[in-house]
């Protein structure tokens, strides 16, 4: 909301510092965003007088002017405007001036004649679209003055952020009220000087309202014999200062009142209103209506229309109709000042993407009591600026007259809520200063009626806020809450605690934590050939590549890979802890959310070759991370890794099972898919279900095992078998051989004999130990032999 300082001062005599006003209002909840000089783009333009004006000898339309700009010497300026003439007072941009469009005025030679400056049109200065000729100013302006000073243009405009509750502050008047309250200044409304010229408006127009809920009040006036033309300078300049482009005297008057008093108005061409009737009634589904911007719009039964005797003529509170627009030739104005149901206006403006200054105010609520003053003042201004005559009377239909809202106010309770200790008188001064009527007959529970412009004062607690706001929330003493709170026992580690522990593990084992958006594009999921069913789509995505919630962490992590590849980072080891989303009709949010952990490894195992040796990450790296997490961090059972066939995007794909439960997948991204992410090497991924891991870890208790007392005895065996035989299968046979004293089995070496690619040698170290005695070599040899026999019996191996 832009607020002009001079306009504000017409209501309230604030003479203090500009910044101080902004600061004070900020602390009252009207946040100052900035202070601007609206006419800064023309600040260097000066007032000049054309003292000589002759025809250019070499041109049939150029003039050679001698212009007095108050300096010791006159300027020679070549001017092409048809209306330039000797004796005119004009705006002059001298050499060196930057024009609003960025053009810098330089010395020039036009057909052989030197020109030192430019005489400007209104359009060149951004004051209107008028480019018929130069802007001829009043002769009373002092030559040599800056144009902005000579015209008394506004130099200070505040830009305030208005919260949605403060509809009353969407006008100069609203800010004047707050300023008066803040600085204890008197507030003066503009004096009404409306001259009515006979007739009876009620014979010329009838207002009908179908549903009082949708339109509690509709006032209308008629102004006859208007002349549509450019609005007066004072009005145009004030609108320009607020960034509002002047249009015509009629439109400017309605805009002027909206900015000044907060009531949006609309002007119909009275002669195009059929049947001397205005009717406020909803549209019907599928109805077409052309608004005055020339666009045909399809309406619904929820839109509210203004109708005449036989057709819709306006989209209530949003935009007028093309069929009743005030044209330049229109003679008679039907002026509307109404109150509409805020939600209805908002819905229509949103659905049609037609936000306007008017709908913005209607959807926040306008002052019903002030309405009559607004239409009267608008009619007065319209009559004054257009020469029109105001028909006597107001055609009014108010099916829901404004009712004062009365709220209780308990000062003690207010003080307890705010943490303050103020005199009752202070609260009373605040309320009365804001225009409330206070009845304190009951000292413990006052009756406070809030004024019609403060739609936000709906309840007792809203009054508390006013007391706090005016006293200053920043002056409330800080104390720490004393809360009696039962200490709760037996609460399991929160989800947050579990997540934190997983993240610390990730960082601890050398992974970088990434955070990707929870949404990706359908394309991302399709590329990985993930099922379409079960996806949670966003109905109004910002873009198609953010239109669906992730069902896997992989797409996000792969995007991370892609981004890093594009930025020359070829050594990636990242993890992410985030939700995965699946459609679920059973859920109250229609969505099932599963917490996941994703790990992506790519490129060299170590950042530099030395001293580790150069090698790229492989399956054992990604698997090792999973094993470390499950066994070493969470202390769960040894996970099992089983090859899974035909996975959508991983090949090989290995399922991770813990105590039989599927906990996730590990694998290599299929080469053709990895290509898309600019991968030049293998991309290894793990994706684990943290909800499963959390459940398992909650059920798991750590048990201490006594340390061994007797020494171990070790035997190594190299198992020679086909390359297709897995280490896991061999281990399973060893462990399943029924040897009680076998404590552990470790793989210690892998060797593929040269020229025998189909064969593989795996060396295992078997540790034997008894809990009750020192083992004798002979006994160990015997048991070891049993293991070897079992291997040979069950597998195609030899030693």
């Amino acid at each position: 909301m832009l607020v002009s300082l001079n306009w504000l001062r017409e209501f309230v005599p604030y003479e203090g510092e500009v910044q101080a006003l902004g600061d004070k209002l900020t602390m009252l909840g009207l946040e100052l965003d900035g202070i601007v000089d609206p006419f800064a783009p023309v600040k260097d333009v000066v007032v000049g007088r054309v003292v000589e004006c002759e025809e250019h000898p070499e041109s049939d339309h150029l003039h050679v002017c001698t212009v007095d700009v108050g300096g010791p010497e006159t300027l020679g300026i070549v001017c092409g405007a048809p209306n330039v003439a000797k004796g005119q007072t004009v705006p002059v941009a001298m050499v060196g001036t930057t024009m609003p469009d960025g053009l810098v005025i330089k010395k020039a030679k036009l057909r052989g004649v030197k020109s030192c400056g430019m005489i400007c049109s209104e359009r060149e200065l951004g004051f209107s679209e008028d480019h018929e000729g130069i802007w001829v100013l009043g002769d009373d302006l002092k030559v040599g003055d800056k144009l902005v000073d000579a015209l008394g243009l506004e130099r200070v405009v505040f830009d305030f952020d208005i919260t949605p509750n403060r509809a009353d502050c969407l006008s100069i008047l609203g800010f004047a009220r707050e300023t008066a309250l803040a600085f204890d200044l008197p507030l003066t409304l503009p004096r009404l000087n409306l001259v009515e010229s006979g007739g009876d408006v009620n014979e010329q127009i009838t207002i009908r309202i179908d549903d009082p809920e949708l339109c509690p009040l509709y006032n209308a006036r008629i102004i006859r014999d208007v002349t549509t033309k450019k609005g007066p300078d004072w009005m145009r300049f004030k609108l320009l200062a607020l960034g509002q482009r002047p249009i015509s005297n009629i439109v400017d008057c309605t805009n002027y009142i909206m900015f000044e008093l907060g009531q949006p108005l609309h002007s119909f061409d009275y002669d195009r209103i059929a049947g001397k009737t205005i009717r406020v009634a909803p549209a019907s589904d599928g109805m077409k209506f052309t608004t005055l911007d020339g666009t045909e719009r399809t309406l619904t039964g929820a839109d509210l229309l203004i109708w005449d005797g036989d057709k819709p003529v306006g989209l209530a509170g949003v935009m007028g109709g093309l069929n009743s627009e005030m044209s330049a030739e229109a003679r008679n104005v039907l002026l509307e000042a109404a109150v509409f149901r805020p939600g209805t206006i908002r819905k229509t403006a949103r659905r049609l993407a037609l936000p306007s200054d008017a709908s913005y105010r209607f959807e926040r609520g306008v002052d019903q009591v002030m309405n009559r003053f607004c239409i009267d003042r608008a009619a007065q201004l319209m009559s004054e600026t257009s020469g029109g005559k105001v028909v006597a009377g107001v055609a009014s239909n108010e099916p829901r007259p404004w009712k004062d809202r009365v709220h209780g106010y308990r000062h003690d309770r207010c003080m307890r809520l705010l943490g303050l200790d103020l005199e009752k008188d202070f609260a009373k001064r605040v309320f009365e200063g804001e225009g409330c009527a206070v009845d304190d007959t009951n000292p413990d529970n006052w009756s406070v009626s809030s004024p019609s412009h403060r739609l936000d004062l709906e309840r007792e607690v809203d009054l508390y806020e006013e007391v706090g706001r005016v006293y200053g929330l920043d002056r409330i003493p800080a104390v720490l809450p004393k809360v009696a709170k039962a200490l709760e026992g037996g609460v399991a580690d929160s989800e947050y605690g579990f997540i934190r522990s997983i993240k610390l593990w990730g960082a601890g084992v050398g992974l970088n934590e990434a955070i990707n958006y929870s949404f990706v594009g359908d394309e991302d999921l399709d590329r990985l050939q993930l099922p379409f069913d079960g996806r949670v789509h966003i109905a109004n995505p910002l873009s198609e590549d953010q239109n669906v919630m992730r069902t896997h962490l992989a797409p996000g992590l792969l995007n991370t890979l892609k981004y890093n590849m594009a930025h020359g980072n070829g050594h990636i080891r990242v993890f992410e802890v985030a939700k995965r989303f699946f459609a679920d009709a059973e859920s109250e949010t229609e969505t099932r959310e599963r917490l996941g952990l994703g790990i992506l490894l790519y490129g060299p195992r170590h950042a530099a070759d030395w001293p580790w040796g150069a090698a790229d990450v492989d399956y054992l790296d990604i698997k090792g991370h999973v094993e470390h997490l499950v066994r070493n961090h969470l202390k769960l059972s040894e996970p099992e890794f089983e090859l899974a066939k035909d996975h959508a995007f991983l090949e090989p794909c290995v399922e991770v099972r813990i105590d039989g439960a599927l906990a996730g997948l590990v694998g290599k991204v299929k080469a053709e898919m990895a290509d898309f992410y600019h991968a030049r090497k293998d991309v290894w991924l793990a994706e684990l279900d943290l909800d499963v891991l959390k459940g398992l870890s909650e059920a798991h208790a750590i048990r201490f095992a006594p340390l061994p007392v007797f020494p171990p005895s070790r035997r190594d065996v190299t198992v020679i078998g086909p390359a297709t035989l897995t280490a896991g299968a061999i281990r399973k046979v060893i462990e399943g051989a029924g040897v009680d004293i076998l404590e552990s089995v470790e793989l210690v070496a892998e060797y593929v004999p040269e020229g025998k690619q189909e064969e593989r040698n795996l060396s295992f170290r078997l540790t034997y130990r008894s809990a009750t005695k020192t083992l004798k070599d002979k006994q160990v040899d015997k048991e070891h032999q049993r293991v070897l026999e079992a291997l040979q019996a069950k597998l195609p191996v030899h030693f």
Binding site: E31, D474, P481
Partner: protein, 351 residues
Amino acid sequence: MNDALKSFLEGLDGLAQDCESRKGQACSLKELEELRIEFLGRKGKLAKAMTELGALDNADKPAGGKKANEVKQRITELMDQMEAELTAAETGRVLSRFDPTMPGRKPWAGSLHPVTLVMQEITSVLAGLGFEYVAGPEVENDWHNFEALNIPPEHPARDMQDTLYVSDKIVLRTHTSGMQVRSMLKKQPPIAVIAPGKVYRRDSDLTHTPMFHQIEGLLVDRNVSMGDLRGTLTVFVRQIFGAGTNVRFRPSFFPFTEPSAEVDISCVMCGGKGHQKDGSPCRVCKGTGWVEILGCGMVDPNVFKCVGYDPEQYTGFAFGLGIERVAMLKYGIGDLRMFFENDVRFLEQFA
């Protein structure tokens, strides 16, 4: 002294001198070992000399034996001395090749995302004050996200947050405030919870990302006041940004709190002065000396009604703040988008 004894003793002396003279001869421990064997070995020179001891007269034997011991001791000393010198030289040689500046064999270095780091710091301060963690869905229904928070459909307050919809009634949560509702529905006061998590808005430009992180705090009891809110936030802000940080409460509006306030802190960049050392305006606070950091207020009675609390009995406060904003201030990160690009050169800077 008879000749035999004399010659025996001279022989021993000669042995000692011989050994002494060859002191510099052994250049390595191996050569020294050879030398040791030559003199002290079972078939060495000393052993050989000693065979003559038996030929001496019995009366000379003590003197001869004594001398022999002396010489043996002397040679042993010499050998030890040489060994010590050689060992020292060897150690010196090894040490001289030791290069302490060679790069170390580092384990992989991991990192936590700056959002996680800030979240952790904030939650631990609040947990220390007695707040409990709660978590809930990121895809939320309209009721929890809006209606129960006093934001009915068609209310202009919905414009404050551009919403991503899944369907008419399901949204991506626009704030963590819905967790206030979920927490209060679960239990009766007193209640003191924090809800950290991801939130979503339909907004993407230089200063907005469609996903970001918030933390919500809620405390409800009898007689909770705005002074309590101010005290809690002051403690919290000072722990995060430093003891000298000032806090400013500015009236504002949120549908689910009344009164509502925005909290500014004195600018972390210029210390609240509003200008840099050279006098130019501070670019972080744009010269105001204050930076907006969070929104807060007293829980609106309508919210209490929605969850079945009696607003006449209970009061409470709520606050919510954006984590990325804090991280930007704390670490001096200028570009919000970097948080979600996951450039490893960015990630590696945080540990």
